[in-house]
Amino acid sequence: MRDETRMLLESMGRLFEDHCTKAVADAAEAGTFPTALWQAVSDSGVPLGGVIDSGVEWSDLYAVLRIAGRYGAPVPLAETILAGWLASSAGFSVDEQAMTVGPVRAGETLRLERDGNGWRLFGRASRLPWGRDAGRIALIATDPDGRSMVVFGDGVEGARLSTGESNMAGEPRDTYEFGGLGLSGNEVAPAAPGIDQAALYRRGALARAMMMAGAMERALDTAVNYAQERKQFGRPISKFQAVQQNLAVMAGQVAAAGAAADAGVEALSIDDPAKQEFLVAIAKTRVGDAATLASEIAHQVHGAIGFTKDYSLQLSTRRLWSWRDEFGGESEWAAKVGAYVCAGGADALWPTLTDS
């Protein structure tokens, strides 16, 4: 690891450690955006790290997201990074406001129609993360010629259908319906070559994969500590082989998740979108599968206390249950992995796994 990276990760770890208290998490879930946390995160410069030519490595940004996931930081860090990337790639300048990005679902597309010098936007973008807290929204849409266009502005407020939707972790997820929203020519610009909705989806899936890897590390740590403190039958439950074996299985899943997520991030350097998608799909699939088993065991080790709102384990596990299905769940991504290898044929399987 580069010294620069190590220093960044250490300082971000301290920042999240200081700010991401259970009180902050509970307040965020009750609807109070953690302004102090976001200010501190903003000051780090990480949210704008996705801006083209920011000089920040994507691997570093994703490594920070892993730490953010570890601490369950209730802020749109991944979304702001992605929105900054998308908007700046189309020539928009971005500031340090919290942003969201979309569409975040594979099946949803937004459509642009010409209207004089401006545009009209049609379509639905469901469950955009932190929509209500975002100062800006970066959307990707298709123009009548089939080109990928970036919509970036603050005039979409009226399009929000409702507030109050959230994921299982209580993170805001807001749906927008565009029934011909009028946009000025300044709010729409062509996306840079290679940047389209699928590219956004891949980066979003990787963000959730890294955040899950972090959340699993936290859950493992919580479970190991709890097993050493909790006494039953006159000794810590960590001394029982059945508990040890469960935690060993969990640790294996957590390790696999970390390795898979890292591999996905490395795939961003691959130019071929199909190959990149294959590798990202492996990451999201493997991490999602690990999240299922890891959260199950973490709860089993904790017994009833882990099932309470007061205890902190749920801050990790409810995020895992949410994030594994955001930007596509395991079955969606696994089908892409399978389709890719099957299209190549059986004899190409081994070369596909090794030629990179």
Binding site: G13, Q241, G338
Partner: protein
């Protein structure tokens, strides 16, 4: 700040390793007739590999080795395994006996054994398990007594793969005078290099496995004499020496590529455009395999740095065997067939091999329970 339990640092295969891959594939193409058979032990094939410098690849040139990187070796062995190449003759020596001789052997032992292994002339097997000592090596009953000019050894070894054809065995036993040490259960553990072909006092009996194959053996050692020059490492240091072999034994691609051919055949049966559920089931398996390979490569990187990643090796083997044992289960769900080892249809015969071999995977090289115990210790639970 929270710490990660285990380290799996990202590694990238160096260009030289990927270039070597092409060379290995060309070699495999030329030797296609030797591949994919149930015969996995073939000295002629090992000698051909040796001629290419693919045995003892990482060892010092001084001992005939080729001083290649751990990554280059990794590429060679994974290509061989994926192709179903018969690498059994040199496998154990190349993977763990040789590296351990390099680490603990005398100068004379290094000079004697290593060049012969590198040339594909000597085959090794592992003399650890016994009838009453499987996972718990400290319970070994085989005993060595110091006698004039060497040691006299009595006892029995079981599950000794390839003992009936190997030239040498690294024997694990205890010194007879070690007694019972309650604090150090491994006190007196000692290893020897035993010449299986030229030593009176060794009887080797086959133990046929449930597939009807002869890999296992039981060895009876009766007043076996081993000269001083074939004491391996230090008296009483056997446990440490054995432990250092295990990172090699547990982390390699042999822990998740045993049934690779079954996965390949599943992809073949699925066809180029499977339905979504079939694609997803195969995709999950491929995602596991790709991740295992990455973890295993990461360990190769640590071995290259001279580290002993025993916890990470345990994690990788446990995940690898779990994945391989799931392969036939999922194969049966996706593509039902009556398993038949002798079937002409490759999928059907590979399914039978998968089902029949699955049980051994989480036993050999450290049982699942032992590995998870090691992982738990790594987590600080024991």
């Amino acid at each position: 700040m929270l710490q990660q339990a285990f380290r799996f640092d990202p590694v990238e295969l160096p260009q030289a390793a990927q270039a070597l891959r092409k060379e290995v594939r060309a070699f495999l193409d030329e030797n296609r007739d030797s591949l994919g058979n149930r015969r996995d032990y073939d000295q002629a094939f090992s000698k051909k590999m040796a001629e290419h410098g693919w045995v003892g690849m990482t060892w010092p040139k001084q001992y005939g080795g080729h001083e290649r990187t751990a990554f280059e070796r990794y590429v060679v062995i994974e290509e061989m395994l994926a192709a179903g190449a018969p690498v059994g003759f040199h496998w154990t020596a190349d993977r763990q006996s040789g590296p351990n001789i390099l680490r603990y052997g005398t100068d004379e032992q290094k000079a004697h054994f290593l060049p012969r292994i590198v040339r594909g002339e000597l085959s090794f097997c592992i003399g650890m398990s016994e009838p009453d000592s499987g996972s718990d090596l400290a319970g070994t009953r085989t005993r060595a007594v110091k006698v004039d000019g060497g040691f006299r050894i009595n006892g029995s070894k079981l599950w000794t793969s390839n003992a009936h054809r190997a030239d040498y065995m690294i024997l694990f036993c205890k010194m007879a005078d070690a007694g019972q040490d309650e604090v150090d259960r491994h006190a007196g553990a000692t290893q020897f290099l035993v010449d299986l072909k030229n030593s009176p006092g060794i009887e080797i009996r086959p133990v046929i496995n449930l597939l009807g194959e002869h890999h296992f053996n039981q060895l009876f050692l009766t007043d076996l004499f081993v000269p001083d020059s074939r004491l391996f490492g230090d008296i009483g240091n056997g446990w440490r020496q054995v432990s250092s072999e295990l990172a090699f034994e547990r982390s390699g691609p042999d822990r998740f590529l045993v049934l690779f051919k079954l996965l390949t055949e599943m992809v073949r049966v699925a066809g180029t455009n499977p339905d979504r559920a079939t694609a997803a089931a195969l995709g999950r398996l491929v995602a596991q395999l790709a991740t295992l390979r990455r973890m295993s490569l990461s360990i190769a990187g640590m071995l290259q740095e001279g580290l002993q990643p025993l916890n990470e090796a345990a994690v990788t083997k446990d995940l690898g065997t779990r994945y391989e044992q799931d392969l036939p289960v999922i194969a049966r769900q996706l593509f039902p067939a009556e398993p038949d080892l002798a079937a002409v249809d490759t999928y059907v015969s590979m399914l039978a091999r998968g089902i029949g071999n699955a049980p051994r995977l989480s036993i050999q090289g450290g049982t699942r329970e032992i590995l998870r115990g090691i992982i738990a210790r790594g987590l600080g639970l024991r």
